[in-house]
């Protein structure tokens, strides 16, 4: 079997000054040529994982391998194998697009005579050729992101880390970026991308790792994650949050299914939708609460996410 592109083994990291356990015993693997979506809410530890895997940060314990190379002892070899587009576009405001790419190419130690060509090629690929001689101050958010991505590709790396690549972008720029990523994947690049958006993970990723509070809470293909939840989801809707809370108490004290509050709705995961719905209707009917909506549906990835990172999930 081929060596996985990434092997993560029990990584832990505590920021001692802030007393935050950012990562707690996280392990996973990424097969070469696939896309891993690292999914989690703000503060889950996504950036910390990316920073460790890109040799920027040292873990407290655990180990990781990139294409079989050891993170702690072979960092300099590893650095030539990946490109990184960080959470905040890490480009120089005062330099032009071209100057930025040439600078990064030089610091990546590419051969001098190949640099100009490569930079032109990337500017073309990301539709920035017309803006190449303008300082980045004049770029839009989407253009900056594209330049950032271009800069992470100067050495045509087989592995790409993208930390929340589309956060803060308008829908159109997001679509453009998705297309660029899909194209890279088609050409054989392995990608680890972090996101807070399920839609993004669902669209781009072959495998999804969900983390929350530094812990891995799920790992599988998008469809595996959906199956993990049972087959149906029953949604009850009420007029206000107060009623929803009371209803949640009643429901969770009576049935043992996984259930979650989401604003004025309660979602209950079940094997048998109609049967559970009936049972719930009887319960609500015998209370003074007023039901305003009832729905039986297939679970979406959003539901998976909610129940896994679960505000109030009930085992």
């Amino acid at each position: 079997m081929e060596t996985p592109a990434i092997q993560v083994n029990s990584l832990s990291k505590t920021f001692t000054k802030a007393k935050i356990k950012a990562l707690d015993d996280v392990s996973f693997e990424v097969e070469t040529g696939t896309v891993l979506g690292l999914l989690g809410p703000n503060g889950a530890g996504k950036t910390t994982i990316v920073r460790i895997l890109t040799t920027i940060l040292k873990p407290d314990s655990g180990s990781a391998k990139i294409f079989g190379l050891n993170l702690s002892s072979q960092a300099n070899l590893i650095k030539r194998q990946f490109g990184l587009a960080g959470q905040y576009a890490a480009v120089d405001e005062n330099l032009t697009g071209m100057e930025n790419l040439v600078m990064i190419s030089k610091l990546t130690h590419l051969q001098k005579r190949t640099i100009k060509n490569r930079c032109f090629q990337l500017l073309e690929q990301f539709d920035l050729i017309e803006a190449k001689d303008r300082p980045l101050k004049t770029y839009s958010g989407g253009m900056r992101r594209r330049l950032d991505l271009a800069a992470s590709l100067v050495n045509t790396p087989p592995l790409l880390f993208l930390d929340e690549p589309t956060t803060g972008l308008d829908p159109q720029s997001r679509l453009m970026l998705w297309e660029s990523i899909e194209k890279l994947v088609k050409e054989g690049t392995t990608v680890l991308l972090t996101t807070q958006y399920l839609e993004e993970a669902d669209k781009l990723a072959d495998q999804i790792v969900v983390i929350n509070h530094g812990r891995l809470i799920a790992n599988g293909t998008p469809s595996e994650l959906k199956n993990q939840l049972g087959t149906s989801i029953v949604t009850l809707t009420f007029n206000d949050i107060q009623q929803t809370k009371s209803a949640f108490e009643i429901v969770t004290s009576d049935i043992k299914n996984k259930s979650v509050i989401e604003e004025t709705s309660i979602k209950i995961l079940t094997e048998d939708g109609p049967k559970t719905a009936l049972q719930l209707l009887r319960l609500i009917d015998s209370s003074a609460l007023v039901l305003t909506g009832l729905n039986i549906s297939e679970p979406s990835l959003d539901d998976v996410f909610l129940s896994l990172t679960g505000l109030n999930n009930h085992e």
């Binding site: 920073r51 920027i56 990946f82 120089d92 330099l95 100057e99 600078m103 610091l107 990546t108």
Partner: protein
């Protein structure tokens, strides 16, 4: 026996090539970062203009406003003043190294540098070298201003230029100290206010504007022997042949201070850079 020797020889040769190659990339990385900082200065000409204007105003202020009230034996005040202004200017210039670094750290470009195969020392060295270049630029302009307000070299052109080189070397060493400030500060504004308590006593409690003999006795000891005064005295000696009251070896002492500062501060800054992040 012979083959063993050959083997050792070829091994040391391949080692030499390895060292040569990393030295080549180290220099290349430093130049790339230096170029980046210098381009930034040209893209924000206002910053460069005002940081040059400030010492010019100091020259005018002390030459024409305070100068008349500060008589110094055996020397025209303008000749006494200018070496002091030169030193103050390059030291303020080295403060901006830390401020610039703190600003870069805030923006995330350094995060990218950390993940590249480049040398880490180059991230800091590129900055200090760029600020050395900037100091040279400012000093050239200031020399023109100095001559315009009546400053005259009392030694020779060679000695005068040696004086300029001496203070540039000292400022380069000190700028490594300010990279440590830049690495410790959460943002550029804080880096700036952290720098003032370090740089003000050194530049003002010195022989830059008035003879230390005029200061109260509790301050005189510090003001006489602290390294910035030593540098100012050395510059005066080289530029206008004005002897120091403290020592006959101020040039040598300045060089020792500079090398000592570099030996301590450079590794500390690199250590701090590797640790942070």
């Amino acid at each position: 026996m012979k083959s063993e020797q050959l083997h050792i020889k070829s091994e040391s040769r391949s080692n030499n090539i390895k060292y040569l190659r990393s030295a080549y990339w180290l220099i290349s990385d430093i130049l790339t970062i230096t170029k980046r900082s210098l381009i930034t200065y040209t893209r924000i000409p206002q910053a460069l203009f005002f940081s040059t204007l400030q010492p010019v105003m100091f020259v005018l202020l002390f030459r024409y406003v305070f100068g008349g009230a500060i008589p110094i034996k055996n020397i025209q005040y303008v000749n006494y003043l200018i070496p002091g202004i030169f030193v103050q200017t390059v030291l303020f210039g080295s403060v901006s190294t830390g401020i610039g670094l703190a600003e870069d750290l805030q923006k995330g470009i350094i995060e990218r540098f950390r993940a590249l195969p480049m040398s880490k020392i180059a991230v800091l060295a590129g900055r200090t070298v760029a600020d050395l270049v900037r100091n040279i630029f400012v000093i050239i302009i200031l020399t023109g201003v100095a001559f315009a307000v009546g400053f005259r070299v009392e030694t020779s052109v060679i000695f005068f230029i040696s004086g300029l080189l001496l203070l540039l070397v000292f400022a380069f060493a000190i700028s490594w100290g300010f990279t440590i400030v830049g690495l410790s500060a959460p943002n550029s504004e804080t880096a700036q206010v952290m720098s003032f308590p370090l740089i003000f006593p050194l530049t003002f409690a010195s022989s830059a504007f008035v003879p230390v003999a005029s200061m109260p006795s509790w301050l005189r000891g510090f003001a006489t022997y602290q390294p910035v005064s030593v540098l100012i005295d050395a510059s005066r000696k080289l530029m206008v042949n004005f002897p120091s009251t403290a020592s006959n070896w101020t040039v040598d002492e300045t060089l020792i201070w500079s090398v000592g500062a570099l030996i301590v501060l450079l590794p500390l800054a690199v250590f701090k850079f590797n640790r942070s992040g």
